[in-house]
């Protein structure tokens, strides 16, 4: 299995989208963290207050902003596109067929795809976060929310698995990576609209609305951002359940696929 994952990692790295995802996913948190650092001591006013006085500055503070930038559509879109290319795209261009004619089970093939994508995103996440910390901590100082940042990074690994699982599941239903991206955006958009509606209902005093809001997929995918405040065990459990559902559904579809 290790060899299959290594082989798939190599394909991801050689794929133009994969290389771009690795570079952007690693470099963006670093750049944003450095840009954030430049705001230290800034006298630019916002609401009659200097921006430099409104924000807290330290290595983990800056790296947290970098992490936010990575999650803000950039990496999820890359991961969905990559998962789409790896499954739906390869089904259409017959590359899945070329793997399936070898003595490997569909489960092994499915797992090698899934785990290579996850490892690929995790490596870029860890390298980007570590570099952001290394470059900003000596400059901005060590005193900051280390535990919150570390927890956010750890939860990001889970979140990105959730995104990959969803994308792989969708990729077993459609035949192109473009359709995977479109259907992924539609699904998350729909989830966002529902959550907005549930927030509205919550404000109107509907008691069950906040609980349902917490179990939505999007709430689960956002748990990495709520470590310091707004943490919800329900959302964390929802992420695991939704990810598990996507994996099981994706696996079942994948095992039954004709690979012409």
């Amino acid at each position: 299995m290790k060899r299959l994952i290594a082989a798939e990692m190599r394909v991801l790295w050689r794929r133009p989208t994969g290389r771009m995802a690795a570079i952007v996913g690693t470099a963006l948190p670093v750049l944003v963290a450095l840009l954030y650092g430049t705001l230290q001591g800034s006298t630019v006013q916002f609401n009659d207050q200097a921006i430099g006085d409104m924000l807290s500055f330290s290595g983990p503070d800056a790296a947290s902003r970098g992490l936010f930038a990575r999650h803000f559509y950039v990496m999820p879109l890359f991961l969905v596109a990559l998962a789409g290319q790896s499954v739906a795209g390869e089904r259409t261009d017959h590359m899945l067929r070329e793997r399936a004619v070898r003595p490997v089970s569909r489960d092994q093939l499915f797992l090698s795809k899934l785990l290579s994508l996850w490892l690929f995103s995790t490596l870029s996440l860890l390298i980007g976060s570590a570099l952001a910390l290394l470059l900003t901590t000596p400059w901005l100082g060590v005193s900051g929310p280390w535990i919150d940042f570390m927890a956010s990074v750890a939860l990001s690994i889970l979140t990105e698995m959730g995104v990959i699982a969803m994308a792989v599941m969708l990729a077993t239903w459609v035949r192109s990576s473009t359709m995977v991206v479109i259907s992924g955006l539609l699904l998350l958009g729909l989830d966002g609209v529902f959550r907005l509606g549930l927030s509205g209902l919550g404000l109107l005093g509907v008691t069950w609305a906040p609980t349902v809001h917490q179990v939505m997929w999007g709430s689960g995918l956002g748990i990495w951002a709520n470590v310091g405040s707004g943490w919800s065990w329900i959302s964390a459990a929802a992420l695991i359940v939704w990810t598990g559902f996507a994996l099981l559904q994706g696996r079942q579809r994948f095992n039954g696929l004709d690979l012409p």
Binding site: E98, V101, L259
Partner: protein
Amino acid sequence: MASDALVTNGISRRFGQREALRALSFSVRKGEIYGFLGPNGAGKTTAIRCILGLIKADSGSVSIFGDHHSVSRLTGVGSMVETPAFHGFMTGHENLALSAAYAALEESVIPPALQAVGLADRAHEVVDGYSLGMRQRLGLARAIMGSPRLLILDEPTNGMDPRGMKDVRDLLVGLAAQGTSILVSSHLLAEVQQFCTRVGILDHGVLVHEGVVGDDLESVYLSVTQQGIQ
């Protein structure tokens, strides 16, 4: 039988209302080159896909060297289905390394395979720059790497020039002489006649003829297959 490399036993497959294969039974003996003939749409590629587990047969069974298991029976099987697919952004060598990983083969099997199809000097170029004939050769290299016991080839000379076709013929005859069993589908009767030991002719999903290759192959073929154009 113990002397059979591949046995299909009554495999059937339907696509919607269309019956692509009807109770197909045939066998490829060890060390022989079995020609799989038939008009377009006869079911040759569907049969090959069922044998390789790419699509599931609705009924029937397949065994390779006596192994019926859908995964383990593919150990020691090299194949090329229709136009071989590659990652165009990777080199020929990298594409074969990917397949070698899935086949649990060492990468040391790649250079001899590339040498055998005359692609050794182009192995480190990306496949997007290959011609159709070169891709076909690379597909063949992927099929023969690791010296498989059974080779399953679907139209292996597609897109090749006469020189390439002769090279493939010589390669297959050489492999068979070393004991490799080969199932090869083709439209080209003359080609099949030159190097196959036995043939099976498929028409509308049914095996309509099976026998030793003789000089009368064309007349047999025309008599057992239905007229396509009225």
